[in-house]
Symmetry: C5
Subunit: 374 residues, 5 copies
């Protein structure tokens, strides 16, 4: 519930042990879905090439950026050196991750984090790369549930490696833009990193809108059928919002660190874009804050509603009881069997008694009306 | 509800894409209201000129301040160089924004922000201009609702460009002061920026007073007709205050950044004015804080009121029941049909019975009176 | 309510416009109270002189400290140069404020603040003076209401100008000490500023004690007559404490700024006194914090009390009903008119029935006694 | 209540006025308890001497450390110069305080603080001494009340002067250790200061344990006799804990300042001890935090308990009413006097009626049993 | 309860007094469990040796690292100098601690802390060693209780000394890794320190999962048998989570200090591991935060549930009463004994009366159905 992955599988293992820790019960996932796809996209201003990596050998034949970057340092013309983006979806095959790690000089601790779902969004600078974790969030409209997908991005000088746990097409917009020869191809790996983060963050607005629709729906139901609402659903609203916030707000620090990073891997013109992403994240976090206020408000209304309905129930009981109990007493009096009760033998006794009761009845009704009880 | 504009329209678009994202349903706005007006006001100490821009060509003929500022740098006498204020109301025509952006060298990300409603108030310094977003807030007295209008201000050396989404006349006081040859014409673009922000902030006091009236009205109603009050309205008070706060409080940072800005665009004598605005914003934020305390107080009173009225309802029921239930029992006893019940045949039985019941009745009444139950 | 003065009167006016903005309805104040008194007190170690200023001309003839201070800078013996304290009570005559402003070189923004009630306590350093706003607070014991009076203090090198809105004699203790040739006359304008602030702060202890008495009284009433207490008064306690806090706590920053001020107007030996005042303010703020805890406690007791009394009401109802409803059923049984009911014709039927009912009654009573219900 | 001493007695007095402000009503204290005792203890590694000071003249004959310290500065061998500790209990005789102040060069503001109970714990560095205020706290087990005693410590180079308001023997453990020729005699005035503070802080653990016992007792009572618990006592728990916290937590800053002090009066080897004390204070503050959680928990249980018992009361009423009201209706039907009611004349009518009622009764009982109502 | 150890045993003792302060009642622990075991493990890249220390003499023969470290400083080849890890379980024999302290130059204050359970997690740097306290936490599934074990770690240049209060095998995974000739043997004392802390922190994930299971179980019970749930258990959930948090969150500062330590004892390559541990601790703290939200949610649902069930109880009562009270009145009317009541003698009177009552009954039922009352 509040820990998304079974971290305890690793108790006692040395750090850097590569184990795939998923949030879902492994047995629940059909074997057919446990596939891994790796794409390698190479582009520069003048060209774009997409290659599907079929085996680990293919992986090993990919060029690394280190010599290129060395060249880049000496020759300024090397700015047209292509950028390579390797995108891995599915983490079932640890060998893929290990092979990439070896090829691109990624630290064991980083590889371990890539494979352990349930990390907090964070960014870490290493000597030759920057490692960023963030969360792709989806909202399951049927179960009213927030679903996380952990995205890892390794940013090197000329290479970006991204990992996603499940095979969602989140980065399709980026691929489309790369194909269309847009501005994005002029920039390097740092801008691509920004573009990937930006797509993930833009998606939060969608999630936020789904939350909004849900909350609107609950609010409307509260007005029309207050008694059908349950504290459980309101609590669920709060919980899901909380989980969403947990996935989003550490990104403020992540984007801030990237903007202010002293690493040479983030070039100056790209920084303004990270600031822009930070703005977006801040707005999402503020919207979540507003959402929380809304939930608190709905819960207050819900509770007041329960009290109010109790009040109304009791008023009905009280009005009925208060009117009829005295009347029942009166009819009881004349139901007594005393031998000597003069009223009983009076010709108009019955009608007088009925009249008296009518009078009491009307007086009571008027009294309650005046008190505004119905 | 808690996100004011449909940001999701932009998911997957490259940054800097110019799309007008409004808070309202576009279909709800009659075509006749979708007009854009642009005014260009040029003034210096000795003169004032106002020109309505009718077409994009007109726009292109406006002078930019960059050469002028270059001149200003060399010739100190150039301090009388006129300041130009371009005020755009309505953002329906993206071409206008794009043309201004090209002419005055505004970054695509800034143009994107100008067109996206739902931004947070912020200020950003660029090399040749300062970009400030703030929120003009109105309070709709009928719907008891806070309405936002996003104001963008671009401050250059000799030029101010302001954008407002809807055609409100908020800047009329500034225009009036400019016409009247006041102090304002002696100062440059930075002071004009201050004057525009000041007008927006001064308006917050009006909104706060409307909130106050609303709250007073609710409080009075709570005293006179507590049962008519609804948790919904109290929650609405809280929500609207929250939305108002969201529009106002980021301005503390905005004005602080402007006061302490290291940009050459904000001259030293103008800084004290930004501090003054900051004081005002701080007071508004404190008033909102007080308002929140008030709402909490009203809600507490409301809830206690519900409990108290339940208590009173139950007291009525209890008093009536407690008095009549034993009496009804007694009359029931003498309504029994046992053959051998000596009291029934006693001549004064009936009166004795009535007397006994009167005694019980009076005792009960006295007892409840002593307990202070009515 | 939560904004103490109608700031909105100033919307659209240029900054520095002098308008007197009071917290009270102007029409409510009798014309006779709208008087302004100005005293000029000049003192040094060897003498003390008090002069009532009757007209604006008198004001203009007062000496300013600027030449004196210039002299002081060259001649160390000038330490005996007299200090002038101008104390203005009542702000009805804007001309007085304007004349003082011109004479002593006070900025328009400062003059504007002096005339606008509802400022937050603050201190601002200008080149030739320090401007301090603070709140004199009184507690109206009849209306249980906190009343504010805004005090402005201008500290120059040899001159202190103080403004108070209403003609209270708060500064009388300072005048008395000045007359008595105390230590105070050895020090200059900065120490006088301290003395004025100290008097205002000392007064907060008095207000705090009045709050304490009020709260004690309410607590006692809660114990003796819990049902008479109202959520309204408890809320009032919270609100007034909140308003008091709002007037007091910004003073922590004010005194801190004065202690750490880099201005030459605050001499080093005086700083320790501002630290002392800050200590006092901190204690007041902590007492307010304690007061809030008290109010929260009282409110919790109040709410529990309501629930508890409801519980007791219901117990009375339940005990009476539970005892008599079965008995009434029994007498009803023997009130049925079936022809063949053998008990009715049994000689001791009536007594047996009465006995049965007595048995039930006693059993019930014992049962409820055991459950501790009364 | 929330201000522990009547500070208002000092309104209008010049700063540094020496008045003894106690927390208790002076009239309540018998004259015989208003005694002042002063002990002067002189020790170094090789000796220990204790002297009771009987008169102010005795006081004046005590040596001050200033010449000694001057000597110490020149002669390193002077490290064996004795340390003097003057401990004053009872503050009734202002002359004692004044005499000490004059003799040891203590500032008037410090003397004023020594005499005013109700100060916050703080430490202030002066040129020739460090002034520390802290609170000795006792817990009165009968009244369940936290009692404060203000301790003031003046630390000079070779002298420590301590003041306690009431004659408790809190510093006896320190005296014992001094007598026993422990490590403490090797160190100087700074270590003695630490030892005094440490004794006070160690005592907080005792108070905390008393709180714990109290809370355990209340919790046990809640389980066994929930209806006897009162919101008043729970609130008292919160209040007393709050007052304890108020006395303790400023000590974190005090010990931190002493550890990081730049004064030459605190030697480097002593600093680690102040860090140790700070650790202890932090643990106390955390325990108080835990205590607050406990109180909140108890209050929640208390409130839920009230609601639950109301629920049970109502269930009893509902079960009884729901069973007997329909039965009473049935017997009422057969109590009607219609001439033509065939059941009445049926031979087994009565038994059939009783049977019907038994059936209803049993059905009802089973129904309520199924719903788990009793 | 909220202080885990009887610190008060030490009131008045000089600092550095060695007393074993346990959290448990000493009398409750059987003498047979009061054993102390000490293991000394020596390893370097090429070898591993484990020795059980049987007596204090054995202890004294252990080598210290000080000369070795001196050698290490001069000879870089000394990197293969073995690392010694002394692990003490059980603290019953103070002499063991004292002997170790003397041998390895540990300060008395540190020894005191090692022996006093109930310390906060902290790290302190001394000249020759770093002292770290942390808490091993277990969750007792039967009593639903968090149990603490205090772990102290002394890190020297070539030696690590660890102390655990109770004989749990928590460090077994580290011993196993050391034996297996893993990476761990290449590193020195700082990495071993990290490995020990890491094992303790990894264990927190297990505890968190146990909390999760408990909470899930309670939530399920709330849905199936809401009336059986008790505020007591919910409060217990909150309390235990709070205690867990208290043990965990100071570790954020501990690991941060270790990562950023300026001590030469922590080598640069090890720092990244402490950052990794800090990540883990942060995630645990966030999970605890989520857990708290869960508890709050459960408590809200619980309270709403009580109110809702009261509402339902009252509805049953109201429906039954409202239906039968008027009917009972009607039968009462025809039970009156007036001589002249024409309906009584009408042939179909009885049936008409029954019909009328049926009509009322059906109307009522329909009315309540419409209001959605059952």
């Amino acid at each position: 519930m509040f820990m998304s992955a079974k971290q305890s599988q690793k108790v006692g293992l040395p750090p850097g042990s590569l184990i795939y820790i998923t949030e879902e019960e492994e047995t629940e996932i059909p074997e057919s879905e446990k596939k891994v796809t790796v794409y390698a996209i190479t582009y520069n201003e003048s060209g774009y090439e997409e290659k599907k990596i079929e085996s680990i050998n293919d992986l090993k034949n990919l060029i690394t950026d280190d010599p290129a970057s060395a060249a880049a340092a000496t020759a300024p013309a090397a700015s047209a050196a292509p950028t390579t983006w390797i995108h891995v979806t599915g983490l079932w095959d640890i060998d893929v991750v290990r092979a990439l790690g070896e090829k691109y000089g990624i630290e064991p601790l980083t590889l371990e984090d890539i494979l352990s779902m349930g990390q907090r969004p964070k960014t870490e600078e290493f000597e030759t790369y920057i490692y960023t974790i963030l969360k792709h969030v989806m909202f399951d409209d049927d179960d009213k549930e927030v679903i996380n997908d952990q995205i890892s991005i390794i940013t090197k000088d000329k290479t970006v490696i991204s990992f996603a746990e499940k095979s969602y097409n989140i980065f399709d917009p980026v691929i489309k833009r790369l194909k269309k020869d847009g501005r994005i191809r002029k920039y390097g790996a740092d801008y691509l990193t920004y573009a990937l983060i930006d797509v993930v963050v833009d998606n939060y607005f969608l999630v936020m809108e789904q939350f909004e629709e849900w909350f609107d729906e609950v609010e409307k139901r509260m007005v029309s059928h207050p008694e059908k609402e349950s504290a459980g659903e309101i609590n669920r609203m709060r919980t899901e919002l909380f989980l969403f916030n947990k996935a989003v707000w550490p990104l403020i620090n992540v984007t801030d660190s990237l903007e202010k990073s002293e690493s040479k891997l983030i070039k100056k013109p790209t920084r303004v874009y990270f600031r822009d992403v930070q703005d977006h994240v801040t707005r999402i976090v503020e919207s979540i804050e507003t959402g929380r206020e809304t939930v608190t408000g709905i819960f207050d209304i819900y509770n007041s509603g329960i009290s109010k309905r109790l009040n109304e129930t009791m008023k009905v009981l009280t009005v009925i009881s208060t009117i009829f109990i005295p009347l029942t007493f009166i009819v009881g009096v004349y139901g007594m069997n005393f031998e000597y009760m003069p009223e009983l033998y009076w010709k108009y006794g019955y009608y007088a008694c009925l009249g008296l009761m009518l009078l009491i009845f009307v007086t009571m009704i008027l009294y309650f009306k005046k008190r505004g009880w119905y």
